[in-house]
Symmetry: C2
Subunit: 336 residues, 2 copies
């Protein structure tokens, strides 16, 4: 490994000067800087991240926290897209990514301890139980954090615009003539609550009566659950003409159940999903859904986190709401 000492020897300056030259310190002659940079390039020098982290406390490493309890991890396309985007933006700015977990090997550490153990400069908290004391501890610590789809006090948060997403979908199906709209939602997280509230509010604004039996709790990303809920809706004396699914993957379960009962989509039943995963675009008919802008969310999260890390003085917490986009597919038709 080429170290700063090798460069110092090779070009006849002290280690201090070499270090300063490579870091753009003001008290090194321009000519010297060039000579040292040239030398570093020739020898193939790259700084040792561990040494630098030890000395200055900064690691150029960003922690990413995807809760490991739920087990969903990166298999959700929404999260894998967010993750890829965080990674891409971080790398562009010279940061690496470390996954923050609990219980590394035999050492028992919580998220904050893991963060410190690796000297992470900050953490993006993406999918987690935000009431978990270990998460709260991290969020209240002095470590810069950015949360996704959740808001800690005085912290930066990136929020997907769930209110606008559901609102857009409701108005869209309303425009197609639907008045009997069912809403299957996922577990009651803060995101779910926003979607549900938005659904009710927009329906009210449009003068739509939503009977309570049209609002059902299911499970995110679980086609079995959405299949059962679909069956329940079909069995109602006065079934809906349009069903909202908690997400695109859940729609598959509904689609199967509808097909099994001989109900044609969209002629006899209209459907919409949520997320806009790749699958929704390759199904036929294409699923009408709302594509969350995961790419932008991830990039903003990384960008703002790095901003906080690099300019702590001028930093202020921000809340950014990222709009998605309604994808018009072929699963919504005018009701009879």
């Amino acid at each position: 490994m080429v170290t700063i000492t090798d460069i110092a020897k090779a070009c006849g300056y002290s280690r201090a000067t070499v270090s300063k030259a490579l870091n753009g310190a003001p008290d090194v002659k321009k000519e010297t800087v060039e000579r040292i940079q040239e030398c570093a390039r020739k020898l193939g020098y790259h700084p040792n991240a561990a040494a630098r982290a030890l000395k200055v406390g900064r690691s150029y490493n960003i922690g990413v926290l995807f809760s490991d309890t739920s087990g969903v991890g990166l298999s959700h396309e929404y999260f894998s897209r967010i993750f890829e985007s965080i990674k891409k933006e971080a790398e562009k700015q010279g940061y690496d990514i470390t996954f923050i977990s609990q219980n590394l090997g035999t050492m028992s550490m919580d998220y904050l301890e893991h963060t410190r153990y690796r000297s992470c400069d900050g953490v993006v908290i993406a999918s987690a139980d935000f009431h978990d004391p270990a998460i709260v501890r991290l969020g209240e610590s002095d470590v810069p954090t950015v949360t996704l789809d959740y808001q800690f006090d005085s912290r930066t948060a990136i929020l997907s615009d769930n209110v606008q997403g559901v609102d857009a979908l409701v108005r869209y199906v309303y425009g197609k003539g639907h008045r009997r709209i069912a809403f299957i939602h996922g577990e009651l997280t803060s995101v779910t609550q926003k979607r549900l509230a938005s659904f009710k509010k927009t329906c009210m604004e449009l003068g739509i009566q939503v009977p309570p039996e049209y609002i059902l709790q299911g499970i995110y990303h679980d086609p079995k659950s959405s299949g059962l809920q679909t069956r329940a809706l079909l069995a109602l004396p006065d079934p809906p003409t349009c069903i909202f699914y908690p997400d695109d993957f859940s729609y598959i379960g509904g689609m199967n159940e509808l097909e099994r009962q001989g109900v044609q989509v969209p002629d006899q039943m209209s459907t919409v999903g949520y997320d806009g995963i790749h699958l929704s675009e390759v199904l036929r008919p294409r699923l009408t859904t709302y594509r969350q802008n995961a790419e932008r969310m991830g990039a903003e999260a990384a960008r703002l986190l790095i901003e906080e890390i690099e300019q702590p003085d001028t930093w202020l917490p921000q809340q950014i709401t990222v709009e998605g986009q309604l994808l018009e597919g072929g699963t919504v038709a005018e009701p009879d």
Copy 2:
């Protein structure tokens, strides 16, 4: 941050003794070890990874390389499953994961340089262009590496059993009575070549004639491509009774095309996929496919890499072939 010095002060031993006690050195009294461990726990001590990495060269960090060129990254379920599994096994053994990429920020480094920059103890190379000189350089360096679905000389490799996978599928559909079997494959990687060879071999063994127009090159994970190939197959004067798709996701494209042309699956056309992603199990009919054991592959990769890192003396390169499992769905029926 609690350091070893704090513990030394708190319990009246030297830093050396504390370090040795915590690392299980033989020349510390049992009683002392206990006292120091107790003290460390009380103070909430955790070693500083950077300091340790700097001193001993070991970082307890494993690099993971998913090529960034192709852009597929972790959005493929196969790879995200492999990744999750690597991560889980690594964490169990006390290792963190770092993504190895090229061009971190403004520094231009190749994969090997990035690996050294972060002092990674080893690298799992998962999805990459194995002919890329930067990958080859890493594979030929002194850094412990494990490749997935590719084999470098004198290196450990984890291989999905593509030969057995395709063989099992062919024999399965043969058992159902199919003799006219088409094979749409992906880009001609080493994996594809194995699958193709296995397909031809098994067909020959079973005495099946495969006309050349039944073997088509498509694109992995691309429903549009598989849709086109499906159309081509249907337009043949003597179309097949069964179509093999390059992967489950590609099947969606085929499925749509078949439906569009009014061809019923499986009554008028049997189909099989490859991978066994979640989606294949929630479609109706369930897709008959071959589930690659990504979990085991990832775990073995991490396990063997760590073995090489921790016991370099007794280490020998290994090739492990991981069998998958045929998932019998409902997309294969007896042909007319």
